[in-house]
Each structure stands twice: as C-alpha cells, then as structure tokens.
Amino acid sequence: MITGHLLSAADLTKEEALNLLSTAKELAAITDGPNKKLPTLRGKTVVNLFFEDSTRTRISFETAAKRLSADVINFSAKGSSVSKGESLKDTAQTLQAMGADAVVIRHGSSGAAKRLADTQWIQAAIINAGDGTHEHPTQALLDAFTIKQHLHSEQSDLTGLRVLIVGDILHSRVARSNVLLLTKLGAQVVLVAPPTLLPVGVSDWPVEISYDLDSQIEKCDVVMMLRIQLERMADSFFPTEREYSRRYGLNSARLAKLSKSAIVMHPGPMNRGLEISADSADDLKSVIIDQVKNGVAVRMAVLYELLGGAQIGESK
C-alpha cells in the first residue's frame, strides 16, 4: 500500500510498485466486466489540475477516478484564474478550501508536484501527472504493466528484459520515470539518442547509452519511441526532421530487425512519419493501444491506494 503522494517513480519501492501493478491487474479484470464501476471512492473528490494541455492523460485519470465512483473536477489553467495571473499557491489553497482529497497535477515546471506536496498550501494527496522535464510516474507504471503483461506475465518482475528508450531523453519526463522504475524492476534500460538530446550527467544513471539505434534494435525486447517535438529543431538539437527520422525513427526496415517477441511502445501522442512510421505504429508488435487501456487501470490502482479505498474484494 502506498501512502501520501506519488511524485516520482523513485518514491516507490520495488515491492510497492509490483503491488500496484497487481492491484491494477485486478482492477482491470473487474472493469472488463459489464459493470465497469466500483463504489470504492464514493464521496471522495479528485481534482485534475492541468496547467498544460494533455487531453490523453487527463481523460485517463478522469476515467480512472470515475470508475472508482469519485467526484471529478477538471481544472484547466487555460481560461481560468491561472491565465489571469493567479499563483500556484492561491490555486492550491482554493482547491484545499473546496475539499479536494487528491490533486492530479500536470505542470510545465519541474518540481511543481513536489512543491504542492512539501508546502502547507494543500493537504490533499498529490499525484504527479507530469512536471516539466522531470517525471511522469503513472506513465512509467503503465509502461511497466504493459511490458509485464506482454512479456513477463509469469515472472515476478522484469529481470532479463532489455528496453530501448529512443529519442528526446533530455526533455522527457517519461524517460526519467521509466529509467527509475524499469531498472528497479530488474530490466536493463538502454537510452538511444543523439548526444544533444541526452542530459549532461546522464552517465550517473543506471543505464546503457547508445547514439546508434541500428546497433541496438536487434537485441532488445522492448523499443519505446519518445515523441520528438518539432521546436527542438529550431533550437538545433538536430539538423532536420528528415535526418532525425532517418537516424532515430522506427521505420519498417528497423521494425523487421526486431526479434520475434519484441514489442513497440510509444507514450503518445505520436508524430507518425517522424519518430515512428505508420506501419510500425499499427504493426502487430505495437502495444500502443494497450498502453492507453492499461493507463486507466494503473491510475485506478494509484488513486485507490492513495485515497485508502476499501479492499478490492469487499467492493466487488
């Protein structure tokens, strides 16, 4: 059982992470039935506090909370008091006054979720749904869930699996959370990127580093493609889209080199034709739609544990 907040994948012990994944598995089984809804969090209020646009993550959390019968408030910064200059502190205190039990926060500033948790602005459980270029722990949980589901459903953890994370590591909260979580679960993680898109200091991370996707593609179990943002080109992180795509994109030639059992992942939204070709995204190896589906189950598990719902067995 996890308590308090979920701010970073580093907050979870291996045991806690595995428990969360098994809770998610049980919840997924229940919500696959005809009645998708559980009464567990009835009377609890979950606020989705989104300072950045992210329809996918927001509706995933919203669906998760609603399936657990929580009341959901969506607070989007655009068109709200925040766009009129209200500070994070004042927004948090407002939500506190309204009785939020959990706040799911997406914010452009690294550490924003941690600040909400550390200050006295609000007492609610804080769930980091992406903070700047720092972390996105529920994404890592759903990725771990998906990997385990497809490749290691019989094993206790991810030991022995080799996971490539390809693309803009420097700015990626998905990569940071996945490195922490997947290595904790025993996987071997290889970061593949041009040197411009790897942080200075990456050598301290418990990962392998490669600049060459072709040298890695044949010997991995998972290839996770990260979204590349086009504005990075203007900042000279790479010369052109075409060059990036040629060197670091997942195309049919590379897809064909993957081992038979390997899976293709992407946190979405995809730039089809840039970091991932359409045929790779739609290939049988692609588990991208499963990631979306599993996202709901994993977020249900996180909300369930943090808000201290009744035992799953009781709520059936």
Binding site: S87, S110, G111, D118, T119, T133, E135, P199, V200, D204
Partner: protein, 434 residues
C-alpha cells in the same frame, strides 16, 4: 568620543582605543582594566568595517523588497560600513540623476556608505554605453560599473567599456554568463539537474566569458572585476590571468562558499540564485582560491525578494538570496574555522581589498591612529541561529534560515558613530522619505 577597551585585533594584539571626530585618535596596548566609560571588548575581535562591492538595494523601483534604508540597516547589522548598490534598479542606475538619488538616500540613512554602481549600458540593454563619465563626475563619484544580473555579452561593447573607464580609473564588474548557453537556465548543469529535470546553467557559460574578458582586459590594459565566481574552472582562469599580470580582480559570495546544488533537489526556490549553486568540488576550489588570493574578495550579492517571489514553484521564482547579515559568519565558518585563512586575511578579503578595488576613501583601513573609525566588534566564540523573521532586511529570502553560525557581532561603528549597539541596529531619523 567612544572608548573601546581590551579589544583583540586581527594580529592577536589586545588594545584600548579612542575614537573622536570619526577617526581613531588613540591606540595603545590594553591596560587590562575593565572599561567603565566605554565598550568593554574583552573576548571580542575588533575589525575594520566590512565593505561590500555587490549589494542589491532595490530602490528605486522595488521598495517592497528593500529600500536604501532597510538595506543599510541590514548592512550595519552584518558589520558593513560601506556597500555598493547594484545598477539594476528601476529606473536603472544609468544616469548621473539616478546614482545621485541613491547616493543621497544612503547619506540620509546614515548607517554606512552607500556607493552606487553605475550601469555599463543604457537600461542594461547590452547595446549602448551609459553615460559612464557623467556618473563618474557626479557627487556619487561612481568608479565601478556593472550590468549585473545581465552579462555584457557583446565583446565589442565590453571592449569599449573597459577602454572608456580608464579615463577615471574605473573598473567594469562583469556578471559572467554567456546568454546563449544559459537560455532558461535554472540551476547548475550536472548530475542533479539531469536527475531532477531542470534546465542546466553550465559552468562553461561562466568560464567562457571570464576567459574572453581577461583577454580583452589584457589587450586594452584596463581593469576588470569578475562578479560572483562560482566554478573551479573560473578560479583557474583568474589564477592564470594574474600570473600573466592582467589587471583582474574577482569576488566570491558567502553562499557559494557554503552551499551546493544538492540543495536544489527538493525544488525549494530559496536555493534559486544566479549564478547557481555548484558542486562540492567547486565550493572547495572557491575556498582555496579565496585563501590563496586568486579570488580577491568576498561580496554578498545581497538580493532581496518579496515573499511571493519565493513562495511558488521553482521556475516561477526569482533568482537571489539576502546575505548582508550572514556574510561574516559564513566566512568565519568556511574560512577561519577550517583554518584556510586567518583573521588578517579575512580583513583583507572583506574590507581592505574591496575598498581598494572600488577606490572607496575612508574605508578598508587598518586599525591605527588616524584611520577612519569604521569598525566592528565580533565575538568569534559565540554562535547564533539564523532566524529569517528577525533579519533587518525587508526581505526574508535567506538560505541560511535555521542554521547555527559562528561569530556574533555586538557593535559597529561607522564614521565614528555607533550604528550597532549590543547587536541592535540604532534607530535613524530619516531626513528624506524612503
């Protein structure tokens, strides 16, 4: 007249002295008698008043953060008898009018010399030189010029500024930060920034400008001062320049002598400062550089901010820390207690040398008959806990809150008058509003 008895000097001698008309009139070996009509300084060390070359007083323009008066009170409490107001006020101190206004506000506060630093370029825009000559000729007699907060990044403007101030023996104090290498930079670039996902401020962005500017200073044979050096590489470059005979001086802040980037881990903006906190290795190199004299002086970079500018998420927060009231204690802890420096060296780095670099008369003088009576008494055996709500500064953004630091200042004498008595800053009757 003020009498001080049984005061220990930096050279360990114990003396009695008398002050009259703003100067030390009598100095003799302590008779050992308990003082009846003066300050009994037994157990305390008497030092020349401290001189700060880098102070943000926020007036005019941001009086909610600090005023010349409250900044002067903080300075007095910290043992300073002279401070230097950085040019990034609003309006910018880029004309004779603004520097004279600040100078007058300082006189009115009357707690220490307030010497305005003039902007190098108009509005700190980095493009066109401000009227450096007019500021030099004003009653404020500006000799130090800086765009601090911003780097004079254009090498041609920097060259011209260095050349131009030779007319009146001025010095350009450079905030060394290559702007293109520090776009949106938030903290030292390294292991911690990689882990916590904040955009990095690489050491090279500081060192590249230091390297360029020492070569420019050599080429045009002028005086360069490097503000707040933070990196081991910067210390190496300045050492090299000094060996070559280039006229470069440099400062380090107390916070860079004590704190490291590991503190940023929790995203508390109290540790957000520019240039950023660096690695342990840099801290050690800075201490060694200061002890060696490669780094000439300690300067506070006292940067007050109102509460709301720190009570927020990291990226929304302002850069800067207050430091006037803790500087001496931090230097005692990092440099004296570590035995890297003795008290004579501390006096050199915090009083004599800064006054010399800036050409401040009546400041930074050794304690002797005829010297100006700018003095402080500190008890090195007493420590104190920093409590932000008790600071004299109008702002509370100290990174040292809660820390127990050595060295308790009891008395400060500025220009022959006591500005601090028994640890309390005296009340001033301001003659000018503000």
């Amino acid at each position: 007249m003020i009498k001080i008895n049984n005061a220990k000097l930096a050279d360990n001698s114990v003396v009695d002295l008398e002050i009259d008309n703003g100067v030390i009139t009598k100095l003799s070996k302590a008779a050992g008698s308990k003082s009846v009509d003066g300050i009994d300084a037994a157990g305390k060390i008497l030092l020349p008043g401290l001189v700060d070359l880098h102070t943000h007083l926020r007036e005019p323009g941001q009086e909610d953060a600090e005023t010349v008066l409250t900044g002067s009170q903080a300075a007095a409490a910290g043992g300073y008898t002279a401070i230097s107001s950085m040019a990034n006020s609003n309006p910018v101190a880029d004309t004779a009018g603004v520097v004279e206004q600040i100078y007058r506000l300082g006189k009115s506060a009357g707690l220490c010399d307030v010497n305005p630093i003039g902007a190098v370029t108009m509005g700190l825009n980095g493009e066109q030189l401000a009227e450096l000559g007019a500021m030099a000729d004003s009653i404020a007699q500006v000799r130090v010029f800086s765009d601090d907060g911003k780097c004079v990044a254009d090498p041609l403007i920097m060259r011209r500024a260095l050349e131009y101030v030779k007319t009146f023996n001025g010095v350009i104090a450079q905030h060394a930060q290559e702007p293109r290498l520090t776009i949106n930079a938030q903290m030292n670039e390294g292991s911690v920034s990689a882990r916590i996902g904040l955009p990095g401020w690489p050491a090279i962005a500081e060192e590249a400008i230091i390297a360029r500017d020492i070569l420019l200073a050599e080429h045009v044979q002028s005086r360069l001062h490097i503000c707040h050096v933070t990196t081991a590489g910067g210390v190496d470059l300045i050492r090299w320049a000094k060996q070559r005979g280039i006229q470069v001086t440099a400062e380090v802040t107390p916070h860079h002598l004590l704190l490291t980037d590991e503190l940023v881990e929790n995203y508390d903006p109290i540790y957000k400062v520019n240039p950023p906190l660096r690695r342990e290795k840099d801290v050690m190199a800075l201490r060694e550089g200061l002890a060696e004299g490669v780094i000439d002086i300690v300067a506070t970079d006292h940067a007050p901010h109102p509460a709301e500018n720190k009570d927020c998420e990291w990226q929304a927060a302002a850069f800067g820390m207050v430091g006037l009231e803790t500087a001496l204690s931090v230097v005692i802890q990092t440099m004296i207690e570590s035995k890297l420096m003795d008290w004579n060296q501390l006096v050199d780095r915090m009083s004599i040398k800064p006054a010399k670099i800036a050409g401040y008369k009546n400041q930074g003088q050794l304690i002797a008959v005829g010297s100006s009576a700018n003095l402080l008494l500190v008890d090195p055996s007493k420590s104190w806990q920093v409590e932000r709500s008790k600071l004299n500064s109008k702002s509370r953004n100290t990174p040292f809150h809660g820390m127990v630091l050595p060295g308790l200042i009891s008395d400060v004498i500025y220009n022959g008058k006591q500005t601090v008595i028994a640890g309390k800053v005296v009340k001033v009757e301001s003659t000018i509003n503000g």
